[in-house]
Amino acid sequence: MTRPTVVQNSGQVLPAGHEPANLGDILERVLDRGIVIAGDIRVSLLDIELLTLKLRLVIASVDTARQIGIDWWEHDPWLTSRARPPIEPGPRDPEEVEAQRRPRVAARAERLGTLSEEEG
C-alpha cells in the first residue's frame, strides 16, 4: 500500500491520495457488500425505497423524473440487483431519439420533394 494510484485514460497515473472516495463507490460497497449478520433492528435494505434513494442521488426530484418520463431504474442492475447484462441499454438519450426521428423526417421531405417535382 505504499503507492496507491489512480490510473485513468490509458496509462495516465494520478496519485490517489488527492481524490476523496466517490460517494457512489462508497454507497455501492456499504449497501451491497460487506458481511450480512442479522441485527436486532431488522431493516432490510431491500425494503428501503431504493428507487427513491437512488433517484435522489442523481436527480433533484422524483416528480421531475416522472414528468420527463425517466424509467431507467426499471432496467437498472444496481437496483434490480441479480440478473444483469454486461452492458446496460442505458437511458433514453434525447439525442438518440432525435437521431432516430431525423431519417424519417428526411425521408418524408424527400418523398414530398419528389412528388412536387412530378406534379410540377
Partner: protein, 271 residues
C-alpha cells in the same frame, strides 16, 4: 470462550438510555485501536468475545431503531453522512490490520447481543479474517471508449435522405461493434486481473448517472490483492489500459475488503 461477553457487560448502556450498537466490522484481537470517531461523532467501542473484536458505534434507538432507520435511510443527506462515517471507521480499521466489514445498518439492541453474535459466528468470521489478512481490495472500472466518427461516407446513389440513412447505419454499426469490442476487452481485462489477485468479483456496472462518467461502464471489478503486490497490480492495470484501448480503465483503492467479506464462490466473468 471464557471471555465471552465480559467486555460487553462492562460498558453496556449509556446512562440507561435506550442505546443500541451499530456494527462497523469485526477484527481479531488487537492490542489497542487508534482513536476512531464513529457514527454521530461518538468514539467507537470494542466488544470482545470468542477471540474476536466487534467495533461498534453506540447509537440511540430513537434515531436508529427500526422505524427511524427506515425513514432516515431514505434521506440522502443522512444516508451520505452515515455511509461515509461507517466507511471511515472500516477504512481506519483496515489500515491497521484485517477487518471484516459489516453491511450498512447492522444494528443491535445492546452490546451483549453483539458479543453473542461474535460467539455464534466465530468460525465464519475467523475464516473471513484469515482470507483478508495482509490483503486489500482494489476496484477496477472500465468504461466504454466511444468509437471515432465513421470513415468517409461510402458513396452511392440516392439523394440526401439516402445518404443520411447510410451514414446513420454506419454509425450505429460502429457503435455496436464498439460495444462488443469493449465487452470483450472488459472480460479479458477482468480475467488478467483475476489471475494476479487472490480472489475477484465482477459486480454489476454502475449506472452512468451514479458513476458520473460520460460513457457506459463495462467492467466493475473488485480484486483482493496481497498488500505486498499492490504496486504490481497497479502496474498491470496500466499495462492493460495500454493494450485494450476499447475500454478506459480506472483503478481505485486500496479499499477495505468489502467485496470479500462473505465467502462466495469466485464469480465467473460473463464471457
Amino acid at each position: 470462550m471464557s471471555a465471552t461477553a465480559d467486555a460487553a457487560v462492562a460498558g453496556a448502556s449509556l446512562a440507561g438510555q435506550e442505546s443500541g450498537a451499530w456494527l462497523h466490522g469485526v477484527i481479531g484481537e488487537r492490542d489497542r485501536l487508534p482513536e476512531i470517531t464513529g457514527i454521530e461523532g461518538q468514539p467507537v467501542r470494542e466488544i470482545r468475545a470468542g477471540g474476536l473484536t466487534a467495533v461498534v458505534s453506540p447509537v440511540s434507538l430513537t434515531q436508529y431503531g427500526e422505524d427511524a432507520l427506515r425513514r432516515n435511510l431514505e434521506d440522502l443527506g443522512w444516508l451520505e453522512r452515515t455511509a461515509r462515517a461507517h466507511h471511515l471507521v472500516v477504512d481506519a480499521l483496515s489500515r491497521t490490520g484485517p477487518v471484516v466489514p459489516a453491511r450498512l445498518a447492522t444494528v443491535y439492541s445492546d452490546e451483549g447481543r453483539v458479543a453473542a453474535v461474535l460467539a455464534e459466528r466465530s468460525m465464519e468470521l475467523r475464516a473471513a479474517l484469515d482470507r483478508v489478512t495482509d490483503r486489500a481490495e482494489w476496484g477496477v472500472k472500465g468504461y466504454l471508449v466511444p468509437a471515432g466518427a465513421p470513415q468517409a461516407e461510402p458513396a452511392g446513389p440516392g439523394g440526401a435522405g439516402t445518404a443520411y440513412l447510410r451514414k446513420r447505419r454506419a454509425q450505429l454499426m460502429a457503435r455496436d461493434e464498439g460495444q462488443q469490442a469493449a465487452a470483450r476487452d472488459a472480460a479479458v481485462v477482468h480475467a488478467a486481473l483475476s489471475e494476479r489477485a487472490v480472489a475477484s468479483r465482477r459486480h454489476a456496472p454502475q449506472d452512468r448517472r451514479l458513476s458520473g462518467a460520460d460513457t457506459a461502464m463495462v467492467l466493475n471489478g473488485a480484486y483482493l490483492v496481497d498488500s505486498a503486490r499492490a504496486d504490481e497490480f497497479a502496474d498491470l492495470v496500466e499495462v492493460l489500459a495500454g493494450r485494450y484501448p476499447a475500454v478506459r480503465l480506472q483503478i481505485t483503492g486500496p479499499w477495505p475488503p468489502y467485496s470479500f467479506a462473505a465467502d462466495e464462490p469466485r464469480s465467473e466473468p460473463d464471457q
